[in-house]
């Protein structure tokens, strides 16, 4: 985790963080650490709090070194109670701070659900815009790391169903940096879902917040035949599937949603109207899942352009399975290719 962290900027400085000299290999965890460090350095209102985020640096080491560098008043361990972590962050934001909260694991964020849905998401509206809550809740989400029960949930649909929240999920290290900087700078509360299976994936990149804004999807791989929609940990899987699809004669466009809420209708409908076929992939259970909303919206907006029903490749409708079974549950490149094959191809289409 000490690799690829650029030289420290002065704590408490209000100047812009010094960009690293050039593209360098960086893991997603290191990129997130850098985003937190740069936000803490650039804005003295930013505080980082959560369980084990101080001395330990977080169980995934995303906050490594931040307490030592910025002090215990900026980066601090909390007692172990998730509702209180979010509830007090709301109070801190009311009093001028920009709290960045870490939930240790997706499923451990559930005790905070009332604070998130009844207060964090609603207080701006409840006060006719007077009370802004620029709180970021970071939560590692999804499976693929052989975690025991309650360590691999994909809880995005609970949050995307709540008006007032923004929900984002990065798929690459560079985007993890960009999106986290943007989330911390955003006046709305943001649920920031970190694909834990990609924490150690590397990318050679310059970390910058310039680029697509927080609410836009990006085309990760252009293609003509089918739009493959993914986010978070499934972006890399989708890209692998797209490469494998070349052998089958399919030219797959991969879209990384980045922002789950709000949804970037423009980028998505433009792509699907062009390709005429769409497939959504996510780890979460399919029933009532996020992919259902994507399929419904795109059907409403692209019906006359579609060559086939929009399909979903999702986790099964079962509680997240234990380590020995998760490989059967998680969407794989094979399962994605199989679904692409079911998009009613006729001779000459591909």
């Amino acid at each position: 985790m000490t690799t690829a962290v650029s030289p420290a900027t002065t704590a408490g400085s209000t100047s812009k963080a010094t960009p690293p000299p050039g593209p360098a290999p960086v893991t997603m965890a290191a990129a997130l650490n850098q985003a937190l460090a740069d936000s803490l350095a650039c804005d003295e209102r930013v505080v980082v709090l959560g369980e084990d985020v101080g001395t330990l640096g977080g169980v995934f080491r995303v906050t490594d070194g931040l307490a030592a560098r910025f002090g215990d008043d900026r980066v601090f361990d909390t007692p172990l109670a998730e509702s209180a972590i979010v509830g007090t962050a709301i109070g801190m934001a009311m009093n001028g701070l920009v709290p960045v909260v870490e939930m240790q694991f997706d499923a451990f964020a559930y005790p905070a659900f009332e604070q998130v849905t009844s207060h964090l998401a609603k207080l701006r509206n409840r006060t006719r815009g007077r009370l802004a809550l620029p709180v970021v809740i970071r939560a590692p989400f999804g499976g693929g790391i052989g975690g025991v029960e309650h360590h691999s949930d994909s809880s995005e649909a609970y949050y995307t169903h709540t008006p007032g929240l923004r929900v984002v999920a990065p798929g690459t290290p560079a985007d993890a940096y960009r999106l986290l900087r943007q989330a911390i700078g955003c006046p709305d509360p943001v649920i920031f879902l970190e694909p834990k299976r990609r924490y150690w994936s590397k990318e050679t990149a310059i970390l910058t917040q310039e680029g697509p804004p927080i609410d836009r999807a990006v085309v990760r791989r252009p293609g003509r035949d089918v739009t493959l929609i993914a986010y978070g940990g499934m972006v890399a899987t989708a890209l692998e599937a797209a490469e494998a699809a070349v052998e089958e004669g399919w030219d797959v466009e991969v879209i990384d949603l980045r922002s789950l809420s709000p949804f970037d209708d423009e980028t998505l409908t433009t792509s699907v109207r062009r390709t005429g076929r769409a497939l959504i992939v996510h780890e979460a259970a399919g029933f009532g899942g996020y992919g259902a909303e994507v399929a419904a919206r795109l059907t409403e907006q692209c019906f006359h352009y579609l060559e086939a029903p929009i399909l979903r490749v999702a986790g099964f409708d079962v509680p997240y399975p234990p380590p020995h079974l998760e490989r059967f549950h998680l969407p794989s490149t094979d399962r994605i290719l199989d679904a692409i094959g079911r998009l009613q191809w006729e001779d000459g289409d591909a």
């Binding site: 007090t88 709301i90 009311m94 009093n95 006719r128």
Partner: protein
């Protein structure tokens, strides 16, 4: 002798415990109370203010209850009987401190200076709290139980981090002490030494459930020791005691001493709300007994005996209260003007494209309805 305690564990438990009997500055008969403890009697000018705000608050409360019967308020949870808690708490705050009220604390909100109609906006059936929280340092009424305890702790902790001389007071009831958030808030406040005061208005009931079914603790104030929070048990119908206790809590908070838990013993004279029927769960004799312990009568007796209140002043105050009630009636007897387009305005800092489309669709739908049939 070696100790088994972990670092941070302290043996001084005695100083955290509340007294066995509630502290009291003014007795039920209006004479000096029998158990003042460490509480300091407020100055005459403050006693005057407490009395004035209680009389105004009581009239406001009665008027609000009446307005529910006329359909002008969607709901009103009365605080009649808890007048001393409502007013004593609000007046003990300094200008820069924050009040975190619940739905039953309209009189505290009013006493803090929020105009009457803005105080009642939410209960009138609007979607927002009516007032600007920053203008009065009053958080929006909190409807879920105990969740605002955490907001108060967070705001107070931020004040400490930012080195601002500022404290928070959160109001909660006996029922709310069973909620997990109350426990988390007391714990966080103690660990962080947050400048916050918790005032539990123990009115004996959580809607219909009596205290005996709510807790097995000897008193609610006794819970403070479990978190390392010093606690006070007070007579909640003694406005002087409430004012003095909350003031002491704010003083401790401002001096860096951290949180205080206060349990005030009081009683809810009215039902839970206008929609509740209290005769289903409590005897009218019990209510009559508490009517005898009226907080306003008590302070009036004390002031009169001390030559601090005469008939002329009482009459003038009664007239002021009638004027307030008349203003509330007049202002609330007009229909609320609602703008459906505003539903979309404050969900996010800037409405999303999807919300803009939904707003346009709603406006088109309304425009269509308004067109005369051809």
């Amino acid at each position: 002798m070696t100790t088994l305690a972990h670092p941070g564990e302290a043996a001084d438990t005695h100083s955290l415990l509340p007294t066995a009997e509630p502290l009291q500055l003014i007795g039920q008969d209006g004479r000096p109370g029998g158990n003042p403890g460490t509480l300091a009697m407020p100055a005459p000018a403050i006693l005057h203010d407490l009395h004035r705000h209680m009389v105004l608050g009581r009239r406001f409360d009665a008027q609000a209850t009446a307005l529910t019967k006329q359909g002008r308020l969607a709901v009103y949870p009365s605080s009649r009987g808890q007048d001393a808690c409502q007013v004593g708490a609000a007046l003990a705050l300094r200008d820069q401190d924050w009040l975190f009220p619940t739905y039953r604390d309209s009189v505290a909100v009013l006493s803090r200076g929020v105009p009457a109609t803005e105080t009642l906006t939410l209960l009138r059936g609007d979607w927002h709290c009516g007032y600007d929280p920053y203008e009065y340092r009053v958080a929006p009424h909190c409807t879920p139980l105990a969740t605002n305890t955490l907001h108060a702790v967070g705001l107070a902790h931020a004040a400490r981090l930012r080195k601002q001389d500022q404290a928070a007071l959160v109001l909660l009831g006996d029922g709310a002490t069973s909620e997990g958030d109350t426990h988390e808030a007391l714990n966080f406040a103690a660990v962080w030494k947050a400048p916050v005061v918790f005032l539990v208005q123990n009115n004996g009931y959580a809607i219909s459930v009596p205290l005996a079914k709510q807790t097995a603790a000897p008193t609610l104030a006794a819970k403070g020791i479990g978190y390392g929070v010093p606690s006070l048990l007070i007579d909640g119908n003694d406005a002087a005691a409430v004012y003095a206790a909350v003031s002491a809590g704010i003083e401790r908070a401002a001096a860096g001493g951290g949180p205080t838990l206060i349990e005030a013993i009081t009683y809810r004279i009215e039902a839970h709300t206008n929609a509740d029927d209290a005769t289903r769960y409590r005897a009218s004799e019990e209510v009559s007994a508490w009517l005898e312990r009226d907080p306003i009568t008590r302070l009036e007796a004390f002031l009169t005996a001390g030559g601090l209140l005469d008939d002329a002043a009482s009459d003038a105050l009664a007239a002021e209260a009638e004027q307030l009630a008349e203003d509330v009636r007049r202002q609330l007897n007009t229909d609320v003007s609602v703008d459906p387009a505003e539903m979309f305005e404050h969900v996010y800092a800037h409405p999303t494209a999807a919300l803009e489309r939904q707003r346009a669709a709603l406006l088109a739908e309304l425009a269509e309805q308004e067109e005369p049939a051809s």
